[in-house]
């Protein structure tokens, strides 16, 4: 078999290199790529078989999804990396999470004017479920967390802040360092925090506390109630929305002036 345009010398050199490798028992990369192609086809048919038997489990059971994701992570496979991946195409995992991503973005966008881009995972879960309607598949908080992890890659500031046993989901690229996070955690119980509370619990000086609170105000994450009895209270809409206010749909929220 001839390869056009390759001189006899080059062929000889290559044959020599091949022989050397084969001697050492090493398989060449290009041979392995051929091998991989074959194995891939086999894997694809195994996956097809699996899908035909168990596709429903993935759809119905969030517990199964968790297990599935963890197994993939253990072996170094990301089933959600691409819509073109086998996992996504054959098991339908992709569409489930990518659509969830769209719903998450839309909920966060609709509420941003009110909470500055910070929302509890509970509230996000609640609103996503509501938006999906009565007959849609159930969605667990683990599902949301995974979808959010994927959204991060688009540079829109998605992140999760651990607070009070659960998480706050951040959806704007506001800079929140450890100080901000710790104040958010402090505010979680009552939905608001005061300078004195910060000084008492965290033992900070005035300037440090004020600096953090000012930043939260500027980013629209906190609202100032200067008429509160005693000292001014800094409220975090992300935390108090479920306790007091009337439920606002994303459509209504859109119509409200920012």
């Amino acid at each position: 078999m001839h390869r056009r345009g390759v001189g006899a010398g080059a062929i000889a050199k290559k044959k020599l290199a091949e022989a050397k490798y084969k001697e050492r028992g090493t398989v060449l990369a290009e041979d392995q790529i051929v091998q991989m192609s074959k194995q891939l086809d086999m894997f694809k048919s195994h996956l097809e078989e699996f899908a035909s038997k168990h596709k429903q489990e993935i759809r119905k059971s969030s517990q199964f999804r968790v297990q599935f994701q963890e197994m993939c992570a253990t072996i170094g496979v990301d089933p959600l990396a691409s819509g073109k991946g086998f996992w996504s195409e054959m098991l339908g995992v992709g569409d489930f999470y990518y659509e969830l991503g769209v719903q998450i973005i839309e909920v966060c966008l609709a509420l941003k004017h009110r909470n500055g881009g910070l929302i509890t995972l509970d509230e996000l879960h609640h609103r996503v479920l509501k938006g999906r309607g009565k007959y849609a598949q159930d969605v667990s908080q683990d599902d949301l967390v995974r979808a959010i992890k994927k959204l991060k890659v688009m540079g829109n500031g998605f992140g999760m802040i651990p607070v009070g046993g659960s998480y706050l989901v951040q959806s704007v690229p506001a800079e929140l360092n450890m100080d901000h996070t710790v104040v958010l955690q402090l505010a979680e119980k009552k939905g608001y925090v005061t300078v004195s509370e910060i000084k008492d619990s965290l033992k900070w000086e005035n300037e440090r506390a004020s600096h953090v609170l000012d930043h939260l105000l500027k980013e629209g994450l906190a609202w100032l109630d200067s008429q509160a009895s005693g000292e001014p209270q800094y409220w975090l809409p992300a935390l108090f929305s479920e306790l007091t206010s009337r439920d606002v749909t994303p459509e209504e929220a859109n119509q409200m002036s920012p």
Binding site: F43, I75, D78, G83, K84, G101, K150, G155, K218
Partner: protein, 382 residues
């Protein structure tokens, strides 16, 4: 709660079980009923509730008692509920756990979820009102009419057993699924190892890999969801799939971009594109990797990353100078602008209008006034 009567739990002839749900607590109006958590069963004729631990404690109510019902969403520390409004009890109603109640409604609290499906089925039964067309009667040993001997009373116990079997079957299915999944993962792991080996060889140049083979290798990684071990990039850029995508996006995004001042956040594009597709959605990485190819494919779009990390797709025709000039013009015109005001002026999102102002500031054309009342930009007179 005074609409309920004690019952033995046996279903009657022509009565069929529709759905059951564990973990349900009853409420008399807004107050918790003096019953524990139990199982709610919906049949074609009745709403039945039974204590989980004490099976003798079983009550039921005809569905005809129901006027209407609605969902009550879950809250912090509160389960989702279905609120059911009831007609007054009929005079010959059999005795139940409550003699009378000041409330005309009850609630079912779903502590183990399941409210969505229960609500749906209840809705169906209330629409079809099957109890009217097939009146149930107490089981008669000799059977009824021409169907003598064929219809039998089926006790709750029988139904329960069936459901238990089905649950065991489901459990079996799940454990079978897990078993099959483990086997599948073993094979997948082999693929991962193989790809690592290949990647190492490519690095060490053990063999003569053509460009074509590299592209093929990358597409294998893409199919398996394996990160490219060589570049650590998520196996994306450079595959034919992403090239195709990039071209599709080039066509699809022209009009939306024009409408939005020439720029859209990547997450906006993600929502737009996936909503349009409906199925076979793009992953965030697919989108990102496709956008990275705009320049090399000479498409009239560009992916741009701002200092803040915000990523946008912009029309190439919208040059940087134009954006900065327009920002400066608008700010000068109004004296000063915040990101929100600018957004309203241009019909842009607040996120993007802020980036433009920041950009103009970076270039020295604007300066900021940063206070707790917000970030405001002024023309730079320095």
């Amino acid at each position: 709660m005074d609409r309920f009567s004690w019952t033995n739990g046996l279903l009657e002839i022509n009565e069929t079980l529709v759905i059951q749900q564990t973990g349900v607590r009853l409420y008399d109006g807004d107050d918790k009923a003096k019953l524990d958590v139990g199982i709610a069963l919906l049949s074609t004729h009745r709403l039945i509730w039974r204590d989980s631990k004490n099976h003798d404690c079983c009550i039921s109510m005809p569905l005809s008692q129901i006027i209407f019902f609605e969902e009550q969403a879950a809250g912090i520390g509160k389960s989702a509920k279905i609120v059911i409004h009831l007609h007054p009890a009929s005079a010959n109603k059999e005795q139940g756990p409550y003699q009378n109640s000041k409330f005309s409604f009850i609630k079912l609290s779903f502590k183990e979820h399941g409210q969505i499906e229960f609500f749906r089925r209840l809705n169906e039964e209330m629409i079809h009102k099957r109890w009217e067309s097939t009146p149930a009667s107490q089981p008669i040993p000799t059977g009824v009419g021409s169907q003598a001997g064929r219809t039998r009373a089926v006790g709750i116990v029988g139904i329960e057993r069936k459901i238990e079997e089905r649950r065991k079957e489901t459990d079996k299915n799940i454990s079978e699924a897990f078993e099959d999944l483990s086997k599948l993962m073993v094979k997948a792991k082999e693929m991962v190892e193989l790809s690592k080996s290949i990647a190492n060889k490519i690095k060490d140049k053990q063999g003569d890999i053509t460009e074509d083979e590299t592209i093929r290798f990358k597409s294998y990684l893409l199919s398996m969801g394996i990160a490219n071990p060589v570049t650590r990039e998520t196996h994306g850029s450079g595959t034919h799939y992403h090239m195709q995508l990039a071209k599709q996006l080039g066509d699809m995004l022209q009009a939306p971009l024009e409408e939005r001042g020439g720029m859209m956040a990547l997450s906006e594009v993600y929502c737009l594109v996936n909503r349009a597709r409906g199925m076979e959605l793009l992953s965030p990485e697919d989108l990102l990797n496709a956008c990275k190819m705009f320049e090399s494919l000479k498409l009239p779009l560009r992916l741009r990353v701002f200092d803040s990390g915000v990523m946008v797709v912009q029309l190439q025709s919208h040059s940087e100078e134009e954006m900065i000039a327009s920002a400066l013009d608008n700010v000068t015109d109004k004296g000063s602008l915040t990101a929100e005001e600018f957004a309203k002026l241009l019909g842009l999102s607040v996120l993007l209008s802020k980036e433009r102002l920041l950009l103009a500031e970076k270039m020295g054309h604007l300066c900021r006034d940063d206070s707790v009342e917000g970030l405001r930009f002024y023309p730079n007179l320095f």
